[in-house]
């Protein structure tokens, strides 16, 4: 039986080496490129006709757009329009990464912490910089809750800063762990099926059971792929909200 974690191994397609660094074009890079291309094609091709009564593709695009627009409006209000493009891009790359990963023989690039970590760090830095540019040094009062006794301040500020710094970590780990766990689980159940089918008698007949579970798991994974993209985008909005409103 194949190792269930084998699917996450990075394979270089075009080996490249610049200045002693391995910058090979890997299958992960390939699927990232495909995610960007497919998202762009979906958005542009489906909106080509721009009909009042949308066809299926246009409907999908409009649904995604309205979904994200509603989310941004809900969290940030009118102020949020400026950040719509950013949230939408983050949502689309995560969604496409998760969904393309559901195609058999494809590669899920969101199953690598380095990818989700970079995305989360980008969101975190954007939110922090937005806060600093909007509020200047006043931004750092974020770490000082109102009405705090002054002798507690050093400890609370430290705790608040650690809490703030933990946000990109929990954001990236959540997406990465969900993807790894889901895809590993599917592989394990598929492995059960293969092993049971290879045995004789009763085992062979029982091979259909893990297959049934796997069928259900694929549905669950598609749901999780969407939910995780949604969670990532919602939390992006939340972080931006903190930076903008500065309660």
């Amino acid at each position: 039986m194949a190792n269930p974690l084998q699917q996450f191994v990075i394979k270089p397609l075009i080996p490249l080496n610049i200045g002693g660094y391995d910058v090979s074009f890997t299958q992960s890079s390939l699927w990232m490129g495909l995610a960007v291309i497919s998202a762009t094609l979906l958005m542009t091709l489906s909106m080509r006709s721009k009909s009042v009564v949308p066809n299926r593709w246009q409907n999908v695009t409009e649904m995604i757009y309205e979904f994200v627009a509603g989310m941004v409006h809900e969290a940030l209000g009118h102020e949020g329009r400026k950040y719509f493009a950013f949230v939408f891009s983050v949502f689309m790359i995560v969604l496409m990464g998760n969904m393309l990963g559901m195609i058999p023989y494809s590669f899920t690039f969101t199953s690598h912490i380095v990818v989700t970590g970079t995305l989360a760090l980008m969101v975190f830095l954007t939110a922090t910089l937005v806060g600093i540019f909007r509020h200047g040094l006043h931004f750092f009062t974020l770490f000082l809750p109102a009405g705090l006794p002054i002798f507690l301040a050093p400890l609370i500020i430290l705790i608040e800063i650690v809490s703030y710094l933990s946000r990109p970590i929990s954001l990236s780990v959540r997406l990465f762990a969900n993807m790894v766990a889901g895809h590993t689980m599917m592989k394990v159940f598929a492995g059960f099926s293969v092993m049971m089918a290879a045995s004789s008698g009763l085992g062979m007949a029982g091979a259909v059971l893990p297959l049934l579970i796997n069928t259900a798991l694929v549905g669950l994974e598609i749901l999780i792929a969407f939910i995780q993209a949604y969670v990532f985008a919602v939390l992006t909005c939340m972080y931006l909200k903190d930076a903008i409103e500065l309660h």
Partner: protein
């Protein structure tokens, strides 16, 4: 005729309300409790561990910088735990990821102030 358009307006409002619920679903605390609780529980785990990891990393870094091994790590583990529980407390009480202690107020005043709500949807 008038009756029909009134009915249509009512239908549109109902659909918009449904759409709003789908968009905010599970996130405004008023939705189905079961689904919401599970999401919160899943979130709590990563929140605690993430804050602890930041604490340990900071402690290790402080130790190397000030040569105070092992006191930095010992101190920052506790700070990390405190921050982790703070994270959990906030997500459980609907303050979400806010830094600071003001609870999330449903954004009624914000929308009322702008007054051109219909345009953005």
């Amino acid at each position: 005729m008038n009756d029909k358009s009134g009915e249509l307006a009512r239908k549109i409002r109902a659909a918009q309300e449904r759409q709003r619920q789908i968009v905010t679903g599970g996130n405004d605390g008023s939705g189905e409790p079961g689904k919401d609780e599970k999401g919160k529980a899943l979130r709590a785990g990563t929140d605690l561990v993430a804050a602890l990891a930041v604490g340990i990393f900071l402690g290790y870094w402080v130790d190397r910088w000030l040569d105070t091994k092992p006191w930095g790590v010992i101190f920052f583990v506790f700070v990390g735990f405190a921050a982790g529980f703070l994270n959990i407390y906030r997500s459980q009480t609907g303050q979400d990821y806010k830094v600071g202690f003001k609870p999330t107020v449903p954004d009624a005043p914000k929308d009322g102030a702008s007054g051109e709500d219909g345009k953005t949807d």
